[in-house]
């Protein structure tokens, strides 16, 4: 079995963790995916140093108290240039998108999350 794809999901909404866990239940069980969760930018950065040290992908919300998603993006890109970061957010305007991409985001997904699309694009998985 090949290495599972490890990802860190950052969102201040606690239910996001539940949602992702359920959505990726099969994949997790088959060992294709391994997910870690953080509820703030600071928590995410801490995790990247410890339990999420070997993630290859970060999915982050933008609208969070404390460190915003964009700030987090900047931090990550400065410390871990190889790390793919995708924004998953409710903001649907072009300005935000541009800002995200200019800071090095690899992708920009809007809520409500279409998991089929997510799985297909991001994880290159059969959804």
């Amino acid at each position: 079995m090949s290495e599972p794809l490890k990802a860190l999901v950052v969102d201040d909404e606690p239910d996001v963790q539940l949602l992702f866990s359920q959505r990726f239940r099969r994949e997790t069980r088959k060992g294709l995916v391994q997910l870690t969760f953080a509820q703030s930018g600071q928590e995410a950065l801490d995790a990247l140093k410890t339990e999420a040290a070997d993630v290859v992908l970060v999915l982050s919300d933008i609208n969070m108290p404390g460190m915003t998603g964009l700030e987090l993006l900047r931090e990550i890109k400065s410390d871990y240039p190889e790390l793919r970061v995708m924004m998953v957010t409710a903001y649907d305007d072009a300005t935000m998108q541009e800002e995200a991409f200019s800071h090095g985001a690899e992708g920009y997904l809007t809520k409500p999350i279409d998991f089929t699309e997510l799985k297909r694009d991001v994880f290159a998985l059969e959804a």
Binding site: E13, D15, V16, L18, L19, Q22, R23, I62, N63, M64, P65, G66, T68, A90, Y91, D92, D93, T95, M96, T110, K111, P112, I113, F115
Partner: protein
Amino acid sequence: MHRSGVQLRTLLCVTMLCLSALGASAQDLVRFEHISVDEGLTQNEVSAALQDSMGFLWIGTPDGLNRYDGYEFAVFQFDPTDPTSISDNRITSLLETSNGTLWVGTADGLNRYDPEMVAFTAYRSERRDEASLLSNRVSALQEDAAGRMWIGHADPDDPSVGGVSILDPHSGQIDRYPLSAEGDEAVPVYALAIGQDGVMWVGTAAGLYRWDQSNNSFSLLQHDPNDPNSLAGNDVRELLLDADGQLWIGFWGQGLDCYNPISGEVQHHEPGPTGVELTSGYITAIAQTRDGLLWVGTANPDGAQSASLHRYDFKTFARFAHDPNIATTLGSGTVRAIVEDHAHVLWVGTDLGGLSLFDQITKPIPHFFPIDGVPSGLSSPIVTSFLEEGKETIWVGTAEGLERFDRFNGIFRHFRHRSGSSNSLSDDYVTALVAWGSDSMWVGTRNGLNLFRRSTGTFQRYLYESGSENQTGEGSIRALYADHARNQLWIGAGHGLERMDVTSGQITHVHGDSDNTSEFSSDEIVGLYTSEARPNTLWVGTENGLNSVDLETGAIAKYEANARSPSALSHRHVTAITTLPADSNAVWVGTLAGGLNRLDLGTGKFTRFTRRNSALPGNTIYGIQPDDDGFLWIATNRGLVCFNPILPDEVRIYDVDSGVQSRQFNVGASYRTPRGEIALGGVNGFNIFSPTGFRDSPYTPKVVLTGYRVDGRPQLVAPEAIMRAEQIVLSHDQNDVAFDFVGLHFARPDRNRYRVRLDESSGDSSEWRDLGTQRTATYANLRPGRYTFYIQAANSDGVWSEVSASVQMQIRPPWWQTWWFRIFALVSTVAIAVFVYKRRIRLIAERNRELEGLVAERTGELEQQTTALESKNDQLEATLGQLRTAQTRLVQAEKLASLGRVTAGVAHEIKNPLNFVNNFAQLSEELTEELRTELASSSDRSVGDVLDELNPILGDLALNAAKIAEHGKRADGIVKSMLLHARGTSGDPEPTSLHTLLDETIDLIVHSGGGDGVPVNIERDYDERIGDVSIVRQAIGRVVLNLLENAVYAIHTYASPEADYVPTITLRTGDLGQNFQIVVEDNGPGIPEDVRVHLFEPFFTTKPTGDGTGLGLSLAHDIIHSHHGEITASSEPEQGTSFTIVLPKIVESIEGAD
């Protein structure tokens, strides 16, 4: 029993005693018990008896058929209204065929018994029907090798009735054989016997017929006066084929013949001297017991002597007859039936005395007692002492004289006090006997001591005379001990102990003075004892403790009783003392109320055995004697006990029904002969027996289940039906079951014991539950399941049957506990759950769609309203002051802009909850699909496995549904607050929670991000003393919102020179008594003085053109003033800004609100 020479002779001579018309005082070894109408038998006239293979005893009388189980009689009688009842009450014969069927012959028909239906099928004779029985009168029954029933017919009142009918029970075919050549006169048939060779013998009034199977022909044997080797007579009444194949033929008047079928030799037995030959030639019954002895009943129609029962040991005929004076003799009347049952009990039915039975295994204990009218018998029933003179002679002391018992002849010779004869016994009440020398015997009485010399037959008296030293003390003598070595006689009396020097005759009152009790425990001497092992120690039992005297030193050891101390003597009144040869370091002591004690001579401590801690049945001990096997025979108030000191819980108890004289013995009346026989005296004569003659009956009872009761109601089934039934099936509410059973062993049925066990088939086997003599076992509240009920019984000797009777029982579970129902319930529950979840998801999804539609609708509506209002206002306000119009318009625009911002923000924020709702709903749909798949494939898996799969899925479903609900509610809340906002700021003041309002406003700002997407850090500083205030909610909310928006804007556009600048807005409240204040503070750039002046002016803004209407603060100002409040701003450049609102807590009315 050992057939030693003495015992056989005793047997014979005792038998001879039974012959004498005067009867005998001895009771011989055959002791009958009786069952008659008193016990429930229908009539005392017994005509037939049989024990069936189950163990029940069937007894036929002229008044119906009885079935006895040892406890009760079941009676079967003719009932004209019941066609399944027996055909007639006059039972003549009984037979159990090889397949276990019971056939009953009566004076009016043959019956076959069906035990499961408890019904009789009758076979009758129809005169015109050649295929029916020859006659209704049945006199004999037998089964042949082919399984056919042979029925002999005879009528004592009608000699023309006779012949044999042969019935095939399977085909129903009946063949008739009148056995006569002359017309239709049949020959009366009285007896039938079948040999091993299949030959049927038919005893008739005209000779003996032999039926040859091979050619189906009859050949006749008759009496030939010229041939001594022919039959003795022609009137054959009884037939028996014995174990050696000899045919015994009983005639009516000509005695008994023994015929050898092979050789043809005949041996005649005719009446002769009693005890040698039969007493009569009229034979009424013949039977052979398993020990090979032949039993023959004879009648005396001429009444010369009473009818008899004979026992033939192939040498002589021993006779047993009824003796009206002795209850344990044969019942009265003529013997009609003799049956030996499985337990070797012999049953003899007579025509006047009911049933007499005697247990051939357990011989009764020889018992001697006075019999009226027998002068050579025992004089008095009160026996106190014994002394053996020789093997054939034993002296017996009684309350009415001294007896010399000649055991060989069974004669008692009496020695009495004769006033006027000074060398006769001093007193009739003899209390103690002890041998002295080879010729003499000391006799203690209630009044004086005697020395009896056998050679002269005279008594030398030693009487009490006051003042004389050489006389015995006053009072009755209780015990004597002869110390031959020292030539002394010890005398124990009621006033103490004395010692007599025999040579001189001097008597020393050793410790006898009633004043001086300090050395002995008591004056009241009960017994004296010395063991062979320690001849120098005299044990003295008194009414207050045990003592021992060293005969050499005179030293006394005293043992006092202490009931509470377990190592002391258990009771003060010592009644018996003995030792066991094998246990020489111990002395066994019996007491009057404290049971048995064992004194360990080494430690000086007692061990006690009472009713409580051992199997001893009573605590009153009268006498103890050891036997050669190490057992103690103890006379107690509850019977004679054979006690094993090593196993105190295994005793054998013999009571009055075994021949023990009574339950009251005399203290000290126990004796052991040199050969080991034990004699015990009481108030009803005495017993003398050899302990080795006792044997447990190895025959165990057959256990039969007689019935069972469910919830207390008896289930009417015959025992045979239950025993043959596969199992008893009950429903779940019939779970109180009681079983009734009997152990069929007729020796002493009231002493049969039972134990039961109920095993559940799914569990381990349970323990045996001992029921004692109880014949019922009850089980209440049984759980549903399969059970097996086992019963074992022990006979009166305590020997348990190895085979148990058992019956299977099943209690069905109630329908709600059956497995199929459970599965059904589970599946339907799961299906319902799934259905409910799906429905909910659908409803929630619908509702969410509704909400989205509503949101869109409202947005659309509001936009429409905007346009409508705009044009309306254009129209309506056109002519009013342009400023007012413009102002109003702009105010509206401001509101709308604010609303629009909020709406945008809200719509943006609803995306989050909707994200969850949609995703969780989708997930739930997938899970449901999975659930369906699982259930579809669940049919070949166990419920447990399926549930293991389903449970997590159902869990997730539940969770998702909850999440959907939660986020749906959230969206709902957001829409609600947005709607609230849309409703405008007009209204009446209402009590409002200030801080809640402020929180909501903050939420709006935070979630809308002030419109820029950058999050804001808003800190709260609430004064909790402020509770509810009376304001127009929306209005004040709008104001605070505006201030916050401004603050946010200010911060966002501020590039702070500070390195770690954290843009912060603080929302603070304060309680000012009647008023309260709200402060919105930020650490932004601050407002310069020149701007601050114009802050609340309409249209004044510092934002770039197109961004904001400039009316926000002006509107805020108006609203606050209409609330009778104040709004002020203070700021310094680079130091932030703060707006302060002061409002009264209670506002009565609003002035000119927009």
